[in-house]
Amino acid sequence: MKPRILPIAVIGGLLLAACGTSNAPTSSSQQGGSVSLWAEWSSGEQAAFTAALSPFESQSGTTVNYSSKGSNIDTVLAAAVAGGAPPDVALIPDPGTLQTLAKQGKITDLTSILSGLSSNYGSAWNTLASYNGKLYGVWFKGANKNTIWYNPAEFAAASISSPPKTWEELIQDASTLKAAGVTPFSLCTDVGWPVADFWQNVYLKTAGADKYNQLSAHSVKWTDSSVTSAFTTMAQLVGTPSNLAGGIQGSLSNAYPACVDKVFPKAGSQPQAAMVFEGDFVATEITGNSKNYMPGTTGSGGASCTTDPSATPCYNFFDFPAPSANSANSAAIQGAGDVAVVLKDTPQSEALIKYLAGPDGAAIWAHLGGFASPNKKVPSSAYPDPVSKGIAQALVGASSFVFSLDDLQGTWEKNMWQDLLDFVKNPSNVSSIQATMDQQATAGLGH
């Protein structure tokens, strides 16, 4: 199927690229001129991004011709590069694409251009934006999947004053919650991807980022003992049905975002569990359920948090904890992000990449909400609430950052999801699941 679609994409890419370049008369002066910029953001996100770029436009006099490419920007960009008409600057949601483009020499080495600005980012981020020791990109936006969301009122009902910091504390808090008659966890297991995100976090926290990347490339086998210990660790929580809202069966019919509603219900129902795991996008679901939900641990107007969604409910998160024996991995984060790369080295694109590497643009979008920057220099006061501040802080302080492993598994991604669902159905069956997974990975990845 792919080869048949590609020519259309190439033509489309050429046309779009042609539009982009025709609007960009190259100017020799530092000021003025224009720069073409591609990213995936559209509608609300596009408006926020445009707002973030407006100081750059007014200060430099350079016009930014922004063009939204949606979620298939990788394909569109690859086609435009192959057709010889790429944009000046692009934000890509995938470090793999950055590596490929750098290898092909299609993007500009930014090491010297950003020499004063690369220190704005932690080494985990600069490593992810580098190829062969040279810096090629700037991580403008980050997404954090290291988040377990909890209903503070439910924690209060069990007298848990501070959220768990280690995996052991999480298991302990789960039993405290149960003693108080609160079901600890709502597990989203109707489909495979949330379980995959969960398992990947456990693997990252137990085995570390290096092993994670090796497993992703299948240079570590799925029958490895590190995989076994991730399964046994996860089984401490999900292997006990009474830890889960509705038990195993209830979890298997628990779709995303219904699993979020079990912890942060709409007006008229009570929460059925205290915690739910998924990435930072859960916040949108919660506030969508009721505008009453306040971020943090105090309800609206300073009242204490209530379980009743129509009174003063709250929502908060804690970082996915690592077992205390693996505390070195506690700041390793699974997530996603958008990295800015320069495809055409013009004075305008250099000025734009410098602006994107600085804190000003990111601070504007942060203030508008729905945004987290891995940039250290973005002041925490730019974030409108404690939850988004916490999400950004975790990104800034990440010791290492990995992308979703399942997305890189090609043909056997769906098998992997099914295997992880099978694990939830029967958590004692780990060794046979591991053997199946390794077989499928070998067949799917061809090695």
């Binding site: 489909v191 049905p241 038990g247 195993i248 069966q249 769906k414 099914q418 939830v424």
Partner: protein, 491 residues
């Protein structure tokens, strides 16, 4: 044919023809008319081919070419670039998770066409005999106008696990709660909760879902029993009040059942704190050492109880199982649990022999969709039946059952077979209802060939070889049914 019969019917026209052909003028006039089809044949063929061309090209492009390409891709690898022989077919027949698709197709083909034809026949025969039959037929037929996706979503909600959402479970719950009402402190065992897990201090699991005091007591003793896992909402419902340590009274066994969770000491068990509450409304039984009951009572608002004048001997206090009855909490109709016992079999045998409940739920939904169609087709067959035969049967004294079995059924057989075969083809390629009705967690166990073909070929990681091989197999399976239907139509 029309012209011949016209000539035959009107002898005059023939005689006119004969008379005109006699003269040379007439011949000259007739010949061009006769020559036209002979001389212009090739040109006409070209013309008709020209007219056919758009349709033929269209057919080639969207039917013939894809069929050939699918056959070709089925012996190529996942990106359709290198030849792999029959490896894709071997993989299909040796992988348990793919064999599941065949099993599900078999379940569908065995159950659905026969049931839907039977239901269609039943409705068609019955609606013939009632007033308001048009209204009834309309209602039965209506679901077919909904898209399969919409129907699947409707039925997914109807079969939802939560009785507050799913209509089927709500109905079962209403009936069940009437017979077997839930207790004050329900423990949802199907959600993995256990009564034993409630025992916190002074208690051990007793007979059949009850709890009993861990140590024995005699007259004049006090007993403190702590339970955990009781949430704040339940406490509000039962009106629990602060617990106080029980005081001993002579000749009696008195005691307290309390919630062993102190907000000020959330992790300490087995100790009565001032902020802990008693559990009211619990039904208790006093057990003699031989296990027989010596009396029963219920705890008060503070969780206190008292068995007076117990006499001599040692006793245990039992918290009855009915306190913890959860009532009906829902059947997971859309789950992949098998209705046939296969847990003792090997993985491959399980894949081939189990019948997941979700398959049956989906078949019910699909019957709802298609019974109306079967009814209408069979109903049309019924109206064209020769009534005289039925009359003759009645005159000869046949009962209605005999008439139905010996006259109606044989006469209707061709129609029934058409419905049956059409439905077999229909369910061989069943797809959308599974994609939309089976939850992700049972999708793998509910998947059919058509769905597997789609999933392997078009979603996530794409394997066009495997997907094409599945398509080829599906194609071969549909051919017999297709040929039989075509013959029937032609005949």
């Amino acid at each position: 044919m029309a012209a011949r019969s016209l000539r035959r019917g009107h002898p005059l026209s023939r005689s006119v023809g004969v008379s005109t052909s006699a003269g040379p003028l007439a011949t000259a006039r007739v010949v061009p008319v006769g020559r036209k089809p002979a001389g212009g044949g090739r040109r006409d063929q070209v013309g008709s081919l020209l007219f056919l061309a758009p349709a033929a090209i269209w057919l080639l492009a969207i039917t013939i070419y894809p069929v050939i390409a699918t056959f070709r891709n089925s012996v190529f690898d996942e990106t359709a670039t290198s030849y792999v022989g029959l490896n894709n077919y071997k993989a299909i027949f040796s992988t348990a998770s793919i064999l599941v698709n065949f099993r599900n197709n078999v379940i569908w083909v065995v159950l659905f066409p026969f049931i839907v034809t039977f239901l269609g026949l039943l409705f068609a025969v019955l609606t013939e005999r009632i007033r308001w039959s048009t209204a009834f037929k309309t209602i039965i037929f209506m679901p077919i106008v909904f898209s399969a996706t919409a129907s699947a979503l409707i039925w997914r909600t109807i079969f939802d696990l939560d009785p507050h959402v799913g209509m089927v479970n709500a109905a079962v719950q209403t009936a069940s709660d009437w017979v077997n009402p839930p207790g004050l402190y329900p423990v949802n065992t199907s959600a993995g909760q256990t009564v034993a897990a409630l025992a916190s201090s002074g208690l051990s699991p007793g007979a059949s879902g009850s709890l009993q005091s861990a140590s024995t007591a005699a007259a004049g003793d006090t007993v403190e029993l702590g339970l955990i896992g009781i949430n704040a909402a339940t406490l509000q419902v039962v009106g629990a009040q602060t617990a106080a340590a029980p005081s001993a009274s002579s000749g009696a066994i008195s005691g307290l059942v309390y919630r062993d969770f102190s907000p000020s000491h959330p992790t300490v068990r087995g100790q009565l704190f001032p902020d802990e509450v008693g559990l009211p409304g619990l039904r208790l039984t006093l057990l003699r050492s031989d296990g027989t009951g010596a009396g029963s009572t219920t705890t008060d608002q503070h969780g206190d109880f008292n068995f007076g004048n117990v006499g001599s001997g040692s006793f245990r206090v039992q918290i009855d199982a009915k306190n913890f009855g959860s009532g009906f909490t829902g059947i997971f109709w859309l789950g992949s649990q098998s209705v046939t016992p296969t847990s003792h079999l090997s993985q491959t045998a399980q894949a081939l022999l189990s019948v997941p409940l979700v398959d049956l739920a989906m078949i019910v939904a699909y019957l709802w969709m298609w019974a109306g169609f079967a009814m209408v087709v069979i109903g049309a067959g019924l109206t064209s039946l020769n009534r005289e035969l039925l009359e003759a049967g009645r005159v000869d004294g046949a009962t209605e059952t005999q008439i139905f079995r010996r006259i109606t059924m044989p006469l209707l057989a061709p129609v029934l077979v058409v419905v049956l075969v059409t439905m077999i083809i229909n369910v061989l390629k069943i797809f959308d209802i599974i994609l939309n009705m089976a939850p992700g967690s049972s999708q793998g166990d509910a998947s059919t060939l058509a769905l597997a073909m789609y999933n392997d070929g078009f979603t996530g990681g794409i394997h066009s070889g495997l997907s094409s091989a599945l398509a080829v197999i599906l194609f071969l399976l549909v051919i017999p049914a297709m040929v039989s239907n075509l013959r029937r139509i032609r005949g």
